[in-house]
């Protein structure tokens, strides 16, 4: 199996364990196993060999037995492998004939597994208790409706998820079109007239790019979203020709070998380390120490060296205090540090970082740049993809700017010209529309909000500024009722919202979370907006105007998942624009966006403000707050420490 497929199955089994756990609270759901839907999905998406399907079934069985309160663990170890193999057999038979193949294979696999479980259980029951055959048979018959209802739910789950998932997970092959040149490949890293087109894409992501990176160079790559920065990172590290589907013209060579001459990514990994932007997807183990240690252990170093190097990595990445923490108990910034530490443990001559510091604060970023600079002094090459490059000047030795798949600048680092026209603003008002009065909120281990009072006015942009854990997100969740205060009250236009439900409050207060992907789920932009309209009972309204307002007019029928990150953020904004709430809360509205996209989002928000709406912007970026907000409310450790502006 490919590593990607192992990861995919693992994630689905985790989802299955949760679904099973939740379903247990339905009385009688003792054999109604929703895990089956998820390992069936895994098999449908991966289409493994029969032996592998059996293995997937065994792992699912172990998870059911150990983690999900099985009433008879031994039964799961037999029934889940049978379910998995049946699912694969049925899916192979029907997949080319109908789009309902996921539903059909799950529909057959669920009773196959369920009845196996019942038979095993009844068999044991019959031989170990003084029950009669009649009782056991009656017991088994009574379980049939439960198995059938589980089958129904599983079929719905499998079919609803399988269709869009197949398009997300499309399996592709790389086609290499150019023969290697006769000249020996360069002994550093070089791209030679490289053009790369992703499968199903019309224009190349990289267009005739040539480039050579020498030992000891610190290269920073910038450019707008969609310019090909990430593809360039994948090309430089050599993984492009191994792990991504598409057409390659031209050559990539690393350390005396062409990239496609490396057997696989594992062989490449002796030369190249990569850190990606999604830190969560780079943590595989359940503790920080395990993550870094395993990377060291697989290098076959003497044991004493492993320990020494581990301590050194803890020190340089400031992760020593996190050793026993699990990934889900780390903040975004800490996750990025750990992912970097794990990549550093390989000590590769080339390290490629793709937006790998986006969630670190300014000081931490500077620390990382210092660390990388120190590595270049020892002969390592560093390639850093960043859309905010100003902070890297002084560290990087070379800057490459990309646009539309081409290199448009390659030379000494220089600051970006970010001259966007100032946005016009109408005069602010002092009319209070939303007010938090002495609110206190306690989480089990921490006082998240400590007697916080603040008012928001009609027609203003108020920025709530603070570091991670300062309580800013907890505060805004109180403003739309997601959290209720332990003490104090929230007043919406003078009225306490304590007795009002979230859907009711949502008609007046809109909240857009940091990552647009936490809300987008429909298959066209238009439908995504209609979902919100329907919720507030205005399904007759048209989504066109709000799409146009954010500059997505031509993309009404497009799948949100095929939009760029910046466009998805705009779509999220269009959703609250359409539903027309007077108060709109944006959590980190510009994270992951380039300066131009950030400006466009802020332009729309300022327009909304000028129409008399109240915009609350939660951010940890003082520059953004200073540039666009009427008032800045600073928070620290659950308290408001300062309110600036608005006098």
């Amino acid at each position: 199996m490919k590593s990607r497929d192992i990861a995919l199955v693992g994630i689905l089994l985790a989802a299955g364990a949760i679904a099973r756990y939740i379903s247990l609270f339905v009385p009688g759901a003792i054999v109604a196993n929703l895990t089956i839907a998820f390992y069936c999905l895994a098999i449908i998406l991966v289409v493994p060999k029969f032996k592998e399907a059996l293995g997937i079934g065994v792992v699912a069985g172990i998870i059911c037995a150990v983690f999900s309160h099985s009433i008879f663990p031994l039964g799961n170890l037999i029934s889940e492998p049978i379910g998995a193999v049946v699912c694969l057999a049925v899916y192979k038979l029907v997949k080319d004939h109908t789009r309902l193949a996921p539903a059909i294979s799950t529909a057959i696999a669920t009773p196959a597994s369920g009845f196996t479980f019942i038979i095993v259980t009844c068999f044991v029951m019959f031989f170990t208790t003084e029950t009669t055959v009649a009782t056991v048979v009656a017991f088994a018959i009574a379980l049939i409706p439960i198995v059938l209802s589980a089958m129904l739910v599983n079929v719905i789950i499998a079919q609803i998820i399988a269709m869009p998932a197949t398009s997300v997970m499309q399996k592709t092959k790389t086609v290499i079109k150019t023969a290697h040149t006769d000249a020996a490949p360069s002994d550093s890293v070089s791209l030679n007239k490289l053009t790369f087109t992703y499968q199903a894409a019309e224009t190349p992501a990289l267009d005739n790019v040539s480039l050579k990176i020498n030992p000891g160079e610190f290269v920073v790559v910038n450019g707008p979203s969609g310019a090909g920065k990430t593809t360039l990172a994948r090309a430089i590290s050599g993984v492009l020709v191994h792990a991504y589907g598409g057409t390659v013209v031209g050559n990539v060579s690393l350390y005396g070998k062409y990239a496609d001459e490396y057997k696989d990514v594992t062989e490449l990994s002796e030369k190249v380390g990569m850190v990606f932007d999604d830190a969560d997807a780079q943590l595989i183990f359940t503790t920080v120490e395990e993550e870094i240690l395993t990377g060291l252990e697989t290098r076959d170093l003497p044991e004493a060296d492993v320990r020494k190097k581990l301590d050194e990595i803890y020190k340089i990445t400031c992760t020593g205090h996190l050793t026993d923490r699990a990934p889900h108990n780390l903040s975004g910034g800490q996750k990025q540090r750990v992912a970097m530490a794990a990549a550093l443990s390989r000590e590769t001559p080339l390290l490629v970082l793709d937006e790998a510091t986006s969630e670190l604060d300014k000081n931490a970023r500077r620390q990382v740049y210092n660390l990388l600079k120190g590595m270049t002094a020892k002969g390592h090459s560093i390639v850093l993809i960043e859309h905010m490059i100003d902070e890297t000047i002084g560290y990087a030795t070379r800057m490459i700017t990309m646009n539309e798949g081409r290199i448009v600048y390659d030379g000494v680092p220089k600051p970006e010209d970010t001259n966007y026209p100032a946005l016009e603003k109408t005069a602010p008002t002092r009319e209070v529309v939303l007010e938090a009065a002495h609110i206190t909120h306690k989480f089990p281990e921490v006082l998240a909000l400590d007697d916080v009072s603040v008012s928001f006015y009609k027609g203003e942009i108020a920025a709530i500024l603070g570091e991670n854990g300062s309580g800013k997100t907890t505060l805004v969740k109180h403003l739309n009722g997601l959290l209720r205060p332990d003490a104090g009250s929230v007043l919406l236009k003078g009225e306490d919202i304590a007795c009002r439900s979230i859907p009711e409050i949502a008609k007046h207060v809109g909240l857009v979370f940091q990552n647009p992907d936490t809300m987008l789920f429909e298959n066209t932009c238009e439908k995504e907006i209609q979902f919100g309209l329907k919720n507030i009972g205005r399904s007759d309204a048209s989504p066109a105007a709000s799409l146009a307002a954010v500059g997505l007019a031509g993309k009404a029928k497009m799948n949100p998942r095929h939009l760029s990150r910046g466009e998805r953020q705009k779509l999220a904004l269009a959703c609250v624009l359409a539903t027309g709430q007077e108060i709109v809360i944006m959590d980190e509205p510009t994270t992951g966006l380039d300066p131009k996209e950030s400006y466009e989002i802020m332009r729309v928000l300022t327009g909304m403000r000028n129409e008399g709406k109240t915009i609350l912007m939660v951010t940890h970026d003082p520059v953004l707050a200073g540039r666009y907000a009427d008032r800045i409310i600073e928070m620290e450790a659950g308290k408001i420490t300062a309110v600036r502006g608005g006098e």
Binding site: K2, S3, D5, I6, L8, G10, I11, L12, A14, A15, A17, I18, Y21, L24, L45, G55, V59, I62, F67, H69, I71, P73, L74, T128, E130, T132, F139, A142, I156, I157, I161, V168, M169, A243, V265, T266, L268, M274, D280, Q282, I284, F285, T286, T294, R299, D324, S345, R346, F443, K477, L482, S501, P503, A506, G510, L511, F513, T518, G532, I536
Partner: protein, 258 residues
């Protein structure tokens, strides 16, 4: 919802049960499972429930087990209803409906009690294994049991992502609530959440598989199983194994030989 407890997670601790080798704890869970299967005597089963709870109490893991009791009560009631509806043996105690329909018999009640006690032994002992064992030790035990490295890795990723998915699910649910979405409660409400909550949750997570796969390859984790750490056994491991073996042997003797 946002303060929902982590499900099925290791709870850090340093008492007796935590320090046992993972293999010992697996033997404990499997041994108790067989002991519970081999007997249907409610007194013996009740004794085993008390033994598992006492064992957990010595190890400082009593509270999380007790939290499973509501679930057991639901299971037990479901079993009583099932057996009452399907089996009639022994004396009739009373009938559910006044016209003599659905007689509740001693046999049915006995059967339900036996099954509920048996499930209590199984669920408590496996729960004890999960909450007192670091996932990495569990994976190490899988290596020791000769489970191929790829499948151990799959298991590891599943455990790793259970709490992450749980948190992400809460976040997505909050995001949709903020858009005025109200699915209602109960089973129908859960089913209605499939689209707006489950779909983005699964698609976002599946989109991570590419990066996860690359990370596994780039850090050489496929070879991790060749570097499994040696499991260490102490005197307490021996004592535990002997006690469980004695219980198992005792049950076998009582059931099959006496």
């Amino acid at each position: 919802m946002s303060e929902m407890e982590d499900i099925m997670q290791y709870i850090p601790g340093n008492r007796f049960v935590h320090r046992l080798s993972p293999m010992t704890k697996i033997f404990f869970a499997v041994g108790m499972m067989f002991a519970a299967i081999f007997t249907s005597n409610p007194l013996l089963l009740g004794g085993m429930v008390i033994f598992v709870l006492a064992f957990a109490a010595i190890g400082g893991a009593f509270k999380p087990l007790i939290r499973q009791v509501p679930l057991l009560i639901i299971l037990g009631l479901a079993l009583v209803i099932l057996t009452v509806l399907t089996s009639a043996s022994g004396d009739v105690l009373f009938t559910l409906l006044p016209n003599g329909m659905f007689p509740v018999t001693t046999g049915a009640i006995m059967f339900a009690v036996q099954m509920a006690l048996r499930f209590a032994v199984l669920i408590f002992s496996f729960q004890l294994l999960v909450i007192s064992t670091q996932p990495r030790d569990l994976v190490n035990a899988l290596y020791t049991l000769r489970i191929p490295g790829d499948y151990a890795l799959m298991f590891l990723i599943a455990i790793r992502f259970i709490p992450t998915l749980q948190r992400e699910g809460v976040r997505i649910n909050e995001a949709q609530l903020s858009r005025g979405y109200f699915p209602g409660g109960g089973i129908i409400g859960k089913l209605k959440q499939l689209g707006p909550v489950m779909l983005p949750l699964m698609l976002n997570s599946l989109a991570k598989a590419d990066t996860l796969g690359l990370t596994i390859d780039m850090r050489g984790y496929r070879k991790a199983s060749e570097h499994r750490r040696k499991l260490v056994y102490h005197a307490a491991d021996l004592v535990t194994i002997l006690v469980v073996a004695a219980i198992l042997a005792g049950i076998v003797y009582v059931t099959f030989i006496l």
